[in-house]
Subunit: 334 residues, 2 copies
């Protein structure tokens, strides 16, 4: 059985056409969501997509043997830094609604992971009604948190900052994990999203482990996307100061977080598993997405991460089961 | 034989006391460098330092069997973003002078790598006289370039930007390598330097490989510090778009750069060598520095990277020799 915790919704073009309108009229024409039919939503998962190698969302999942995928918003579309905040709120709500409808249409294949209206023009408390709605009313199993809601325009309070505490409190109360996954980046001198994910997730891990968050919220469940950004590879930089300061050893702190396997080389996945431990790692592909391109050298999709895991010879059967589904079942209560 | 391309100078406290004065009076008391004696400079390399595990610079080099080390400025001290620019210029010149005197005092152990007065208040052309002075007059073998001279306060033009072309032209003309190594970070919500190194070096690689720099300057020699930041670990993210766009394959582009081994875990070093190739990798330790702490689990210094390389069983003798000294001799013409 394979559970993929890192999937993003596929949606009818009408959703994004509506978003383009919101960005043009900034809410002046109203915020009413477009009328998307169930057929349109269903079709979005069956229609071949040029960005995803000319096959469909389900072609990707079926081809990789993914039994259940957690669906979150498509992060680079989230536009948390756009103004006024009400267009961020309206868009986030509708994206979550489309995720919910996707889960209802395919209850055996999907579970929902919410986005929040992370406008920095709103007090963080105002992000929380949407969290509560998606978890308690729509049955979502987690939430995706963008550590940089400014999308590069300003420096956000790092995840260890008290700024985030109302969110952590709510997550502990609701007992759902946060998946840390950055969104867009609006600086022309920086990459617009993919590298920004890695960068801000890296800062996120650094900040969490150098803060009191995991002491103050021992029940908090956090998953870092994309194999933890740079941290597992660069972990050696952080071990010495951990010893020097007499703090809890760095690896011990690191292993209080969870990580997904969304890395597209076997070497990287092995390094992740050895560094953070298989028990802290969850299978995730971001499929279809960045890696949905056939590798001409192997004939496989770059994001066929299950094949890379298959090739890791040192995993025991128990570890393999934990990585591919068991850890996710436990963490997300699936 | 071991050549360590990633060393930073040790200096008498007088150098940094003078810097503190420059930052206080902003040049109003003049820019005249302090009088540091040869004995003081010599002593700096023999004096045990609490930050470096209570042993000296030479204790570290001797203990690790480093025969020759390239000495560059201590990056987090460089203060490229301080104003007025004349204090950056004065400090950089004096740091380079102390490096030069260190090389003169220990000609069998050190070679110089210059810092440049990378104030963004100066036109980039004004950084170049110091480059020419250090290379042609002082015999330095390379230059250290900070990809973020704003030190986090603003977004710098990425390394692929035409902004940097006068520097690349001068480097090709002088035929010396640039070591890309970030400096400080002044944002309280970010880590002040160590993680910033990784972050900005990551952006640097991304930008160089998505630009025409390596086409426009095929002779340019670039070394990325700290094992290339996040890129070798996250390289899978960049392979698919390389195929999609029909550009030169990403790994082929990546292997036009060089990388040092300044990573403190064997897993990370192995991943680096496998990803970029041994022929593109140069031994570097940043020793004494971040890793100069005894690992309680092994009894060795974290930055005893030669021991980690020793344990990589699959390296051939030729590869080992290239990694530990041959590649550096060739690239830096030692």
């Amino acid at each position: 059985m394979i559970i993929d915790i890192h999937g993003h919704l596929s949606a009818p073009e009408g959703l994004y056409a509506w978003k383009a309108g919101l960005l043009s009229h900034r809410g002046a024409h109203g915020l009413r969501a477009p009328s998307l039919s169930d057929d349109q939503i269903r079709e979005a998962y069956f229609t071949p997509n040029a960005s995803f190698g000319d096959v469909s969302h389900f072609d990707h999942l079926d081809g990789a043997g993914v039994d259940l995928q957690l669906l979150s918003p498509r992060p680079y579309q989230m536009m948390h830094s756009e103004r006024p905040a009400k267009i961020v709120e309206a868009f986030t709500t509708e994206v979550n609604n489309v995720i919910h409808r996707s889960v209802q249409l395919f209850p055996d294949r999907f579970r929902g992971v919410a986005g929040l209206p992370q406008s920095m023009d709103l007090p963080i408390e105002q992000w929380l009604p949407e969290l509560r709605r998606t978890i308690t009313e729509l049955g979502f199993v987690g939430v995706m948190i963008n550590p940089d809601p400014y999308e590069g325009l300003e420096t956000p309070p790092a995840l260890g900052d008290k700024f985030w505490y109302p969110l952590w409190e709510a997550l502990v109360e609701l007992d759902v994990p946060a998946i840390i996954h950055s969104a867009g980046c609006r600086l022309p001198a920086r990459e617009p999203y993919s590298l920004h994910f890695i960068q801000e997730e890296t800062v996120g891990v650094w900040s969490l482990l150098n803060s009191d968050v995991l002491k103050d919220f021992p029940e908090l469940k956090i998953v870092i996307s994309h194999g933890g950004g740079a941290i597992p590879y660069q972990v050696g930089r952080f071990l010495p100061s951990g010893v020097r300061s007499g703090a809890t050893p760095y690896l011990e702190r690191l292993r209080k977080l969870h990580f997904d396997t969304c890395l597209y080389t076997q070497d990287a996945i092995e390094l992740l598993l050895r560094t953070v431990g298989v028990e802290q790692s969850l299978f995730g592909t971001e499929k279809p997405g960045t890696g949905s391109q056939i590798n001409p050298e192997t004939g496989h999709w770059f994001d066929d991460i299950h094949l890379l895991v298959d090739d890791i010879a040192w995993l025991t059967d128990d570890q393999r089961a934990a990585l591919m589904h068991g850890n996710a079942q436990k963490l997300f209560k699936l």
